[in-house]
Symmetry: C2
Subunit: 639 residues, 2 copies
């Protein structure tokens, strides 16, 4: 019977020829999410055939490129060979829904941009060293013997050996000594500006466990996401998100910068972000039974302020004219010096920023777009979050700008707004009788509404004329509305989306959407749309000149393009010009954790970006005011 | 009236022409110790005339070389010029006696070996940088502007900037910004394997205070000594010694190594030595009103085990066959990583060791001898301490060995033994009536007896036949003796040196010397002498082949050569072949704090030394047994 080995879990199962790969996985206890219920239409349950062959009829589902790389949907592939090795690309361990901003979209969207296996280089490399045992009168210290072995094996001079490794060197050498003639140890090292720096040494027996995992991190102002990545095959073993603990010190970047003005507050913000990241690292490592101190590779993307706060650098001058950050390209500091809980000597990679408000999250995101290729098609990259950042360009020019959208897309400033997590209303349908039906993440009882839910809701309300172009309710004379006061104590009617249960034990509130919620949301979408218009306008382009529009953001799992166009958030272009990237910053971080080539790519990208400051553009306020309507004052734009 | 400015205190006084420099100093409140009472015979009160002229008749007191360098004895020089700048070489701030192992001997002994002013290079250099203020849209971060200014000023690429400096960079730049056009800051940097590493940045106004002081440290197993050195003129501003706090964990190197076998004990030993050194640094800095965090230069010499313990490295394998230390040549680790309380990014220089028991203290000591020159005369360097270390060689060969003398020379294992500090009997005279007169350091009431006192005492007792060649009292039938028990409970008569006072409030003991004290001392001297004999013997040399013998050690201020020869501690050679160096390890450390050239010299010296292991020499035990007598079994050697 054919034997199937599932990686990275190494679970093995024997099944008869003709069994579907999905069934084989089930028998082996390996779970792969199959969003369309094994109908073979969503293409989201891809696995990679590492060795052996399967039977599979493509029927146009996958690109030729994906096929040639060995990807198949687990639900449609059938066991045909006697031995098969199958790589599960994202094993979410049953936590689907909660962590969906991770890897599901990774392969379908941008496989040609992802590092290929030949690009993987671990960044921190390991080398097995055979070191002669000390002999009486040889005049060589342990340090001398290590250095000379490194020089011989790596053909280098003067490796740098951190003090803590010198401290453990004598015992490591003697533990791994055999027959009093030689020691076998493994050294982990990396390159730093033409020098070799040692990150760890271990006695040989532990050597094989080293160096196989990396951590990709995206630090958002609101949400922090990490992935534990297998560096040998690129698979995402575990992913997890958490709120940035800094939220307690201010909801947006500007309030954090203000908070950081006292040195003890700056230290507090640094502590909070390192502790958020460390909790995620430790949890990931624990779930996979990995020692976090044996993780040597971490790549981080974040906006410019988050990078400053992570490094404990005064962020004040980011927000003061002339808006000069302390640093754009951060050298490789060690995890220990930054306070991250992996191997303390491991080098921490932080993607480069290009402006006060066009940060490493955007350069990392751009890695997921054709901007990272030598492509002459003009494309637009929109990252929608608390700050909206936009890149526009091709292989000849590249402009970047940022606008302050506020937290509405992540649920902030909305009465029942919330992050895209379990229980969040992510989609809304309204029927002919104007009944509202809410769909939540994880099909849980509704807790609140996330960004994609708000977009869906406002679009539906506008379509059914429940709100007008200014975002006001057309008729509030029904039981579906309650009257609330907003902060200015003026009239602020609110639509009830879901009623509190009748059970008296139910302490949940009604979930509502008020006019002032809609107003906050429209300000956010206007900030984004007016920035896009102005940018195109500035270099004499029109929407039609765009070959491709990439949209990313933490506002939900999937953006409904019709809804987004209905409300005037994105340019009115054909569907096939859009690509939804999910969390592109995390995706870029994933690529840089795997390959130096992609680190070099991002550096080149960052150097090409010209930063455009909207605050100095006289037309920006006009554009913004015009975009406060649904879809726009100039509704012909959206015809 | 002539104006006299005393450096480094910058005190100024006006005195009439013809006033002695000593008198002028007194009026200015500057104290210079004048051991011979201004008789102009000891040559120990040297000062350096930096500018201007004095009247002074040499009469053969100083060498032509010292004269040409501007040195004069303060007691004999007379003010002749209208303006004079005088450098006080060692201002012990009235603590004379207690700290005499510092600099008194420095200049007379080995001035030709000391770094000259032209060799001074501060090691950590400073550079004033003019950095353009940020301008809107220049696309340069603070880091970018710092790096480009460093590159321009120092003609380098890729300087390494520690994270804590990046953290303070934004504020430093803005504090020192003038007229919104540029910032003036001072950067302190050093070279590390062909790279420039930044140690600090300060706004210009503080820049001038930077970088002027260094710390020279000698870590002895028993005593730690430091000097605060003015790096601009080489003067020793302050010196201080303290017991090594590790003493609580074991008296000698071997017991410390044993103690360190538990990881928490190793950490304790590291803590104790760093806290000993830090207390000395902080005290020195405070006395001179210097911020210790603005000290960037520290040079350390110590035996191999002390280096391991300072760095927190397992010392176990130093004492186990094949006696392999973890490290001989330590790279430049930062003060922060080692735990020393100077600027945390300052590089810590540790002199190289060459063997388990021939450490950095010996290579540093050799810097004070003609072994550091291209000299063909064969010379012997003996460092007498808990371990005795011996170097023998010339420009063609260089041998090193070590023997375990035990702590007797530093007062250990002797009933009333003590370190050479206030109240220690340092010299003894016996008159024709066999009355014993004791002379103490600081002319204080006697508290105990130090190494030089024991040598003086045993020599006098032997000369007056109060003890015999085996170190036994010839006649104990007098009130001058008490009967004590030694550890083996056998008879152990002891000679009373000083009686307790009659005053009943006097709680001091009689100070005595017992036969078992003498025995311990003879074992120590036999270990040293037999090592010297064997070493010469090994390469077919005789005492007469030695052109020069250097003696150093912490056993007292001055070694009386006649006494040392009487007891058979040192080879029986003419007085003029001997040079007494005091604490040569500290002296070597002083040289390496001042000049890279001397760091290079010590590296070359270390590479030339061949380590000889006495424990494998079959003749060593015979030589040792023969040397247990006063002066030696073969007394013809000392005729």
């Amino acid at each position: 019977m054919p034997t199937i080995k599932f990686m990275p879990s190494q679970k093995i199962v024997e099944v008869p020829k003709g069994t579907s790969l999905f069934e084989a996985g089930k028998q082996a206890g390996v779970s792969v999410s199959t969003p369309c219920g094994c109908k073979g239409i969503c293409g989201k349950c891809l696995v990679k055939i590492v060795s052996g062959q399967v039977d599979f009829e493509n029927e146009g589902l996958l690109s030729q490129k994906l096929l040639s790389q060995g990807y198949v949907p687990v639900c449609k592939a059938v066991v045909s060979d006697s031995a098969l090795e199958v790589l599960i690309l994202s094993d979410l361990s049953g936590e689907k829904g909660k962590f969906d901003d991770s890897s599901d979209d990774l392969l379908l969207v941008s496989s040609e941009l992802l590092p290929e296996n030949k690009d993987f280089d671990f960044i921190c490399k390991s080398v097995n060293l055979e070191i002669s045992a000390p002999s009486y009168g040889d005049g060589l210290s342990d340090y001398d013997r290590l250095v000379s072995s490194l020089q011989k094996n790596l053909n280098i001079t003067n490796p740098e050996i951190p003090l803590d490794l010198l401290q453990k060197l004598p015992n490591i050498l003697r533990e791994s000594e055999k027959n009093n003639t030689k020691s076998n140890i493994t050294a982990v090292y990396y390159n730093k500006s033409a020098k070799i720096v040692l990150a760890d040494i271990v006695s040989e027996s532990n050597g094989e466990d080293l160096n196989r995992f990396g951590i990709a991190v995206d630090i958002g102002t609101t949400t922090v996401a990490i992935q534990l990545v297998n560096l040998e095959n690129g698979s995402i073993i575990y992913s997890k998100t958490a709120y940035n603990e800094q939220i307690k010190c201010g909801l947006d970047v500007i309030s954090r910068i203000n908070y950081a003005r006292k040195p003890e507050h700056l230290a507090e913000l640094k502590d909070k972000i390192t502790s958020t990241i460390n909790a995620l690292i430790i949890e990931s490592a624990k779930k996979q039974d990995i020692d976090p101190l044996k993780i040597f590779n971490i790549a981080i993307s974040a906006n410019t302020t988050m990078v400053h706060l992570l490094l404990g650098i005064v962020p004040e001058y980011i927000r003061l004219d002339p808006y000069t950050p302390a640093v754009y390209s951060v050298e490789l500091y060690t995890a220990g010096s930054i306070g991250l809980s992996i191997c303390p000597n491991a080098p921490v990679y932080i993607a480069p920023s290009v402006g006060s408000y066009v940060g490493a999250d955007i350069t990392a995101g751009a890695l997921c777009t054709s901007l990272a290729c030598e492509d002459e098609d003009i494309c637009l990259f929109i990252d929608i979050g608390t700050n909206g950042e936009i890149l526009l360009g091709n292989n000849e020019f590249l402009l970047g700008c940022a606008c302050s959208a506020g937290p509405a897309f992540e649920g902030g400033g909305i009465t029942h707004g919330m992050r895209a997590s379990n229980g969040a209303i992510e989609r809304v349908e309204i029927d002919e009788s104007k009944n509202i039906k809410c769909f939540t993440i994880g099909n849980s009882a509704p807790v609140g509404i996330c960004g994609s839910g708000i977009i869906s809701l406002i679009a539906a309300l506008f379509r059914y004329n429940i709100i007008d172009a200014a975002g006001k309710f057309t008729n509030t004379d029904s039981d579906n509305y309650v009257s609330t006061n907003n902060s200015h104590s003026s009239k602020n009617p609110a639509l009830i989306l879901t009623k509190r249960g009748n059970n008296s034990n139910d302490i949940s509130e009604d979930i509502t959407l008020s006019e002032s919620d809609i107003d906050n949301f429209l300000r956010a979408k206007a900030a984004i749309f007016s920035a896009i218009s102005l940018m195109l306008n500035n270099i004499g382009l029109e929407f039609a000149d765009l070959s491709r529009v990439y949209v990313s953001g933490g506002f939900g799992r999937y953006l409904n393009l019709d809804d987004a166009k209905t409300i005037g958030l994105i340019p009115p272009l054909d569907h096939d010009k859009f690509t939804f990237l999910g969390n592109s910053s995390l995706m870029g971080s994933y690529m840089t954790v795997l390959s130096q080539k992609h680190r070099d790519k991002i550096t080149q990208l960052a150097q090409r970006i010209t930063y455009l400051d909207l605050s100095t553009e006289p037309k920006y306020m006009d554009e913004y005011m015009a975009a406060l309507f649904i879809p726009h004052t100039n509704s012909s734009l959206f015809m």
